[in-house]
Amino acid sequence: MTEQDGYNLRLYVAGQTPKSLNAIANLKKLCEKHLTGRYTIEVIDLMKDPALAQRDQIVAIPTLIRQLPEPLKRIIGDLSNAEKVLVGLDIAPT
């Protein structure tokens, strides 16, 4: 994975709320399908450390941040609409 085509994703969740759990599951599924071997996911639980919300100015949870490739993108929700997520992250459907 090179820095150019690799996806560096950060998912903000709040403990085990239903939408947080859904978001984690949906993201993993989507990445495995469309970004195989080209991604890293960092899950951040704001219940454990709410202060981390400030880094990406998180307001609603769950929120997915695409750190790389730039520019930084933000998708709010449980990522259940795969098509919308792909568009939001600029990933061409395979």
């Binding site: 709040a14 403990g15 709320t17 239903p18 939408k19 947080s20 709410p50 307001v59």
Partner: protein
């Protein structure tokens, strides 16, 4: 939550417009279930309504009542169980003052402290409950989660536990062997006595392995003769048995008799889940019963014997009596001799009596100061069977002596002496002197005949009379037999006269 709203709005206005719009949209459409707000100590996560669904389900399924109250003491949530306990709809409970739910006001609500209270129910009834409270934070809002445990259920649990303890103590202390069987005939619980009877802990064993009852064609199967050993486990677990006499195929228990009872073990729904089997040992009772039966038979037999003797004596006395008065005197004397013998036998429980004691008793009416009666001989225990015949013989001789012999005169003397040889033959000598001069009798009186018959047939011995002028001497020889069959009637009563 006015503070939160302000922070959120501030944040949103500060963020780029599109992002803010997206966030608001997401919240509005329920795409998110938590938001970050600025609290006094920095960012804080607030879980939005709906996110606590799993917890709500949990609270709904609790067997205890649960309610959430706000700082003002108003019920903002109540679960189904609390609605059931109070007999009111959830909608009625929400919005009520918490204290109004109780007779006597709200119980004290302190974390980790359980308070007792009376929950108001429909129909002016109350329900004893244990109330406990724990603080709850919904974002910055403080609330209290209350749980209410139905104490009647708790009391029932205590009662059940007590009943169990009670049943267990019965099993422990019962003097009968008690086994609780499952439907397959396996022993689930056993009394201490049951374990003792089997000489090992029997729980877990099949009943018939622990207590091998005699069944089928076995000698003492009794009522169980209809069943096979294999079928007994299931039968005992499912069919009632009432006081069935049983014995066991076990060396240790072979000579013991038990009463077997079995009845169903019912659960709360009154369905049988097994049985309770009791084994009561009746060996001693059984032995006593047998002894009693034997004694009654023996008594019947003896009564029959005595009647036969009385009949025989009466018949022969009649034949020889000159007058009614003579019959009366003689007959009463003879019956008296039988009565004395009978008394002695009863006193000694028919075991037998000393020869001296018998002779002394029969001669007692004839003793007087001026008569010398001496009784000499080694101690001999006469078997019961010999007592009555010998009593009659001594009576006849004494009557005779008092009428015609040594005892009819003031200075007459009588000596009764006996010896016993190595073959246990007794030789008893009756010797009179000092009486009127004796001559050979002209005929044989009934007294002599009676003595002859009794000695010959009942004592299986011999009898000899010597009529010396100074006084008669009578010699009786008879074996000391303890094994004379008690079932036979006395020979003197059955032989032709």
């Amino acid at each position: 939550m006015p503070d939160k709203k302000t922070h959120l709005e501030d944040h949103l206005t500060a963020a780029p417009f599109q992002e803010a719009a997206e966030t608001v949209e997401a919240i509005r459409h329920g795409k998110v279930d938590a938001i970050v707000v600025q609290g006094p100590n920095g960012p804080q996560v607030v879980v939005l309504q709906g996110a606590e669904e799993p917890y709500r389900v949990l609270v709904e399924r609790m067997s205890d009542g649960a309610a959430t109250i706000d700082n003002d003491g108003t019920v903002i949530f109540a679960n189904n169980r609390l609605a059931t306990m109070s007999g009111r709809a959830i909608g009625d409970l929400v919005g009520q003052n918490f204290g109004s739910l109780f007779a006597g006001g709200a119980p004290p609500l302190q974390p980790d402290v359980t308070a007792q209270a009376q929950l108001c129910c429909s129909g002016d009834k109350t329900l004893p409950v244990a109330v406990s409270a724990s603080p709850l934070h919904i974002g910055e809002t403080r609330a209290t989660l209350i749980t209410l445990a139905d104490q009647t259920i708790h009391r029932q649990a205590i009662e059940t536990a007590n009943a169990e303890r009670f049943a267990r103590s019965i099993l422990e202390q019962a003097t009968d062997a008690i086994a609780v069987l499952g439907k397959d005939g396996v022993i689930l619980h056993a009394s201490a006595m049951a374990d003792e009877l089997a000489a090992r802990p029997v729980a877990g064993e099949l009943f018939m392995d622990a207590f091998p009852l005699q069944t089928g064609k076995e000698a003492n199967a009794g009522v169980l003769a209809r069943f096979s050993a294999e079928s007994m486990n299931t039968l005992l677990a499912t069919k009632p048995f009432h006081g069935v006499e049983v014995r066991m195929n076990s060396e240790r228990m072979a000579h013991r008799t038990f009463l077997l009872s079995a009845g169903p073990l019912l659960n709360e729904e009154k369905t049988s889940i097994g049985s309770i089997v009791t084994l009561t040992e009746i060996t001693d009772r059984k032995r006593a019963e047998e002894q009693q039966t034997m004694m009654v038979a023996e008594l019947n037999h003896r009564v029959k014997n005595i009647l036969a003797i009385v009949q025989s004596v009466a018949f022969q006395t009649t034949r020889n009596a000159a007058s009614m008065q003579a019959f009366n005197d003689t007959f009463s004397g003879r019956i008296q001799a039988i009565a004395i013998a009978h008394d002695i036998l009863t006193q000694t429980r028919w075991i037998g009596v000393g020869l001296r004691e018998l002779v002394e008793k029969v001669l007692a009416p004839y003793r007087a100061e001026d008569r010398a009666i001496s009784v000499e001989g080694p101690p001999i225990l006469l078997p019961a069977r010999s007592v009555m015949p010998l009593s009659m013989v001594v009576h006849e001789l004494a009557t005779n002596a008092s009428k015609y012999g040594a005892l009819s005169q003031p200075h007459g003397s009588l000596t009764i002496a006996w010896t016993m040889d190595a073959q246990k033959a007794i030789k008893l000598t009756w010797q009179e002197s000092g009486g009127p001069a004796v001559g050979e009798p002209t005929g044989t009186g009934f007294g002599t005949k009676l003595i002859d018959r009794v000695i010959t047939f009942d004592l299986e011995g011999e009898f000899q009379m010597d009529y010396a002028p100074t006084g008669i001497t009578c010699t009786l020889t008879f074996p000391l037999k303890a094994d004379i069959s008690p079932d036979a009637l006395p020979g003197s009563a059955t032989r032709p006269h």
